[in-house]
Each structure stands twice: as structure tokens, then as C-alpha cells.
Symmetry: C2
Subunit: 279 residues, 2 copies
């Protein structure tokens, strides 16, 4: 089976993808749009894209494409703790310059300030590319901040583990496809959820409140809500909503019917499991 | 006055910043965290950071830092249409390779597919860096997709204007400071708004609905809502909310009091104007 993912090689997205699909053919794409197109045009069966907190790619684009593309569904969501490793070429011991993505450097601010205050920090396009640069320049005193997969792929030696300032930082990815099967993975299941995209008829006061009432009196809990401006103009919005827990067919179908009767457009993206990946 | 902004030079953020503060000293920062730190530590008076739709920097970080940093307020929000220009070195006429940020290449997909189908597209860390690369290699048949400011700064010639696929695409920036003055700019004012960060006491069904009721019955319209996971754990959230239109002191203060009495934490980020920039 062919699986597209947001590249480059050794990105965090690949790290997640290789855990979800350890035995499939993984095809890196250069942007999130290409991942959606690959699914739509049947070049691949599924794709893995970042949904939240990613340092690789503008994830609001993921929400916009879920709105734009018809017939593409969510099969699972995975949560991956963000772990940054400081790595050098195995022939080296000294460090004069540390390469990484600006956001990764920011996430390791306190560690770098304490341990490598006077070392030059050099921003790079991605953490994976930073690791590659270190690997390709064994004679230079370079280090990179990247993930453990990048260290392995490029034969680098990790000299400080988990150097990010915030232990609980994580990033989220979703698996998308045309079929919208509910994926069952062997990883730890956190919860089940349902994703909907709701477009209000117009930008009127209390419209969103009315929509949320449909869920509230049914005690259906929302765990994510994000408004996105429609590209048709500045004043119109759609909402990406996650409803927590199990999907009761009667209750849920009634809720969807009620939403439609309020004049909203509802796009059902899937009811699926959320898993916690380990790295 | 010193103003920090999310760099590099000739980024879209600088393009916005130079329009908001045409006569001030502008200091590029390598990430959004450094922009917040610069304000907090009084190295600068204000900073300009992306809030939505940016191709430069993970803007969910902006929401997290607005939550994390105490005593930093929003002074204004500006909306900038995203306009991509195809540019070459003035000594050149042919194009063999087009450099740009992956997201910018994605946003010009239809144009590139129609006009430059067989030309190599090379991803680069930022649109500004792509323009710089073209400027530094006049002997090569390179082109870049970047903004008009980058073309000017690096002496490049724009050969196709506004090549993005979607006319209405735009990006949003905010000006932050410790003072939280309400900025008055000469640009076209779109609206007024108030930004709040609301933290629910726990993740209970209908909690958000209850919060929105406070605004709904007062006919205070919400124009943006975004939930963000707290870094203390996977199950806890805060909400970034924009309330539209004028800020009625009595109505609004009552609303804030009511929110607090529901057990929520409310952080007032500012009541400010939103402007439309032209490029």
C-alpha cells in the first residue's frame, strides 16, 4: 500500500508515519496540498499530514484542505510527544555551530542558554535537513537538533536526549483517505472522536452558540474547535469541531439533522480512534 | 522606537511591519518566542508576529505565547492579502529552476502547472531566502516566488504578478506590547474587536457552550474561536476568542464578571482596531 506523508525524509511526520505504517511504501511530499492531491488522484491510498503544533508546515492549511476537498475523510489521529535530540557526527567531539529549524531552537531555548550559550545557533529549513548537513560535513564542528529517527538515518551520535524545555509538548497528525475506514492501531488508544466541519449560513451573533447548543444538551463534549475564514471573503467562517467519546448512532444522527435544520452545512469527516505514539 | 518582527529580512511579516511602522527601527527575530521575549525584556517597545495563515512560522505558537506570557497585550491586528510574484535577475530572461517556500509553491500550483510545468521547483526555507538566492546567482537561470518587497530589496525583476491561485488569500498579524495601547493607523479600518483567552475549570461537557452563552444573549458576536491544548496535559484546553464590534463598558464588564463567576479564568488581551494593508 502506498502512503504519502509530508516530507522531507526524517521529518517528524515520517517518524509518525513509519510507526503507523511500518510495512508500507512511504512517499514523501513537499507540501500538505500534494498529500491531499495524492489521495484524491489515487496515487496513494492514504496520507499522513500534521494537524496541530507542527514545526513542519502550516497546519491551518490542513483544516482548509479538509474543507476544500470533497470525499476525503479522517481515519485516525495520532499524538506524538515532541522530543528534540542534540546530535553530532560520530568522528567529532566539539561543537561550534548548532543547526536546526527556528521553532526547534526556540523549543530548546533554556537548554541551549544553559549548556551552549556561546555556540552559534544557525536556523535551517527543517530539523531533518539540519541533521543531513551535519552528516555531510564530518570535518566541521557542527551539531544538529533533530529527532532520533534523523540521527539513525544519517548515522549521527545523540549526545543530549530530550532537550526540549517543555516535557509535555506534542504534535498531532491525521491519516486521511477516500475510504474513511476507522483504523485500528496497536499503539495506546487515548480516546475516540468525531470530526465535523460546520459552515454557518451567515455571520450572525449567537450562530455558533446555537450550533453548540445542539451538542451541549445531548452532553456531547467538544474537545477541539477552530474557526477558519472562508476564502470567499473576510467575514465568513467555517468551524472545525471534534466531538469526544463514542458515537451514539441515534443521538448523533439527530444532532446532525438538527444542525442542518438550523441552516448550517455539515461535513462529516469521520469517527475514529486517537492513539499516543511513543518515540 | 524599536520594533521586533519575525524575520528574515523581506519576509511577509517585515512587509506588514514596514507598513505599520514606516519610520521606526525594525529588528528581525529568528522565531516568534524571541519576539515575545524582546517585548518582555524591554529590548523593544512592540513586536509584530503572525496570527493566522502565515507561511512563516507556526502561528499556533503565537496563541500559546499570548497565554504563557503575562502582561503582554494586543495593540492592533492587520490583514494583508497574500500576493506572490515571480521574479528573476534583471540580466536573465530564461528560467530553469524556481525557488520558493513549499507553501508558496503550493499556493501558486495552478499558475506553475500552466506556465512552467516542466521547470524544476525547488523548495527553500523562506520566500525571502529564495529571492536572495536568485540575486546572488545572476549567471544561473533561477527564478523565485516571493513578495514585491523582496524583489525591491534584492534588485529582482517581477515578470508575473499575483500568481497565487486564490485571489482572496490573506495572512493576519498582530502588534504586541506591554502597554497595550490601542493603535490608530492610517490604513483602512475593517472593524474593532476584543481578544480574550478563557480557560475552563475542567474538561466538562457543555462548558464551552456555557461560556458562549455569556456572549450570545448579549448579542456579542464571536469572529474567531480556537481551542488550544494546555501543555500541562492532553485533556485540558484554553480558548482564544475574538468578540466583534464595539466594546460597551457596562455590558462587557458584566460579561467578564459572569465568565469569572462560572469558574473560568479570563485573560483580557486588548480591545483594538483591525486594518487592511495594501500591497
Amino acid at each position: 500500500m502506498k502512503i504519502a506523508f509530508l516530507g522531507p525524509q526524517a521529518s517528524f511526520t515520517q517518524l509518525a508515519t513509519s510507526q503507523i505504517f511500518p510495512n508500507e511504501e512511504l512517499l514523501p511530499q513537499s507540501n500538505i496540498l500534494d498529500c491531499f492531491k495524492a489521495v484524491q488522484d489515487d496515487w496513494v491510498e492514504k496520507a499522513v499530514v500534521p494537524l496541530e503544533n507542527s514545526i513542519e508546515g502550516t497546519v491551518s492549511m490542513t483544516l482548509d484542505y479538509l474543507y476544500d476537498f470533497d470525499g476525503i475523510f479522517v481515519e485516525t489521529e495520532v499524538v506524538m510527544p515532541i522530543s528534540h535530540q542534540l546530535m553530532i557526527h560520530p568522528d567529532n567531539t566539539e561543537i561550534e555551530k548548532i543547526y536546526s529549524h527556528p521553532q526547534a531552537l526556540a523549543q530548546c531555548y533554556h537548554f541551549l542558554d544553559k549548556e551552549y550559550k556561546d555556540v552559534i545557533k544557525q536556523e535551517f529549513g527543517s530539523t531533518a535537513a539540519a541533521a543531513k548537513r551535519v552528516a555531510e560535513n564530518p570535518e566541521k564542528k557542527y551539531a544538529a537538533i533533530a529527532n532520533s529517527y534523523a540521527a539513525k538515518l544519517y548515522g549521527l551520535k545523540i549526545i543530549h536526549q530530550n532537550i526540549q524545555d517543555i516535557e509535555q509538548n506534542h504534535t498531532k497528525f491525521i491519516v486521511i483517505s477516500k475510504k474513511g475506514e476507522r483504523l485500528n492501531l496497536s499503539q495506546n488508544k487515548i480516546t475516540e472522536k468525531t470530526s465535523l466541519i460546520i459552515t454557518l449560513p451567515e455571520d450572525h451573533a449567537g450562530g455558533l452558540h446555537q450550533v453548540l447548543s445542539v451538542f451541549a444538551w445531548r452532553k456531547m463534549n467538544l474537545t477541539k474547535i477552530e474557526s477558519r475564514t472562508l476564502k470567499t471573503g473576510l467575514g465568513n467562517y467555517f468551524f472545525f469541531i471534534n466531538v469526544a467519546n463514542e458515537w451514539h448512532p441515534v443521538l448523533s444522527n439527530n444532532a446532525l439533522e438538527e444542525l442542518k435544520s438550523l441552516g448550517t452545512e455539515v461535513k462529516f469527516l469521520g469517527h475514529y480512534n486517537e492513539y499516543l505514539l511513543e518515540i
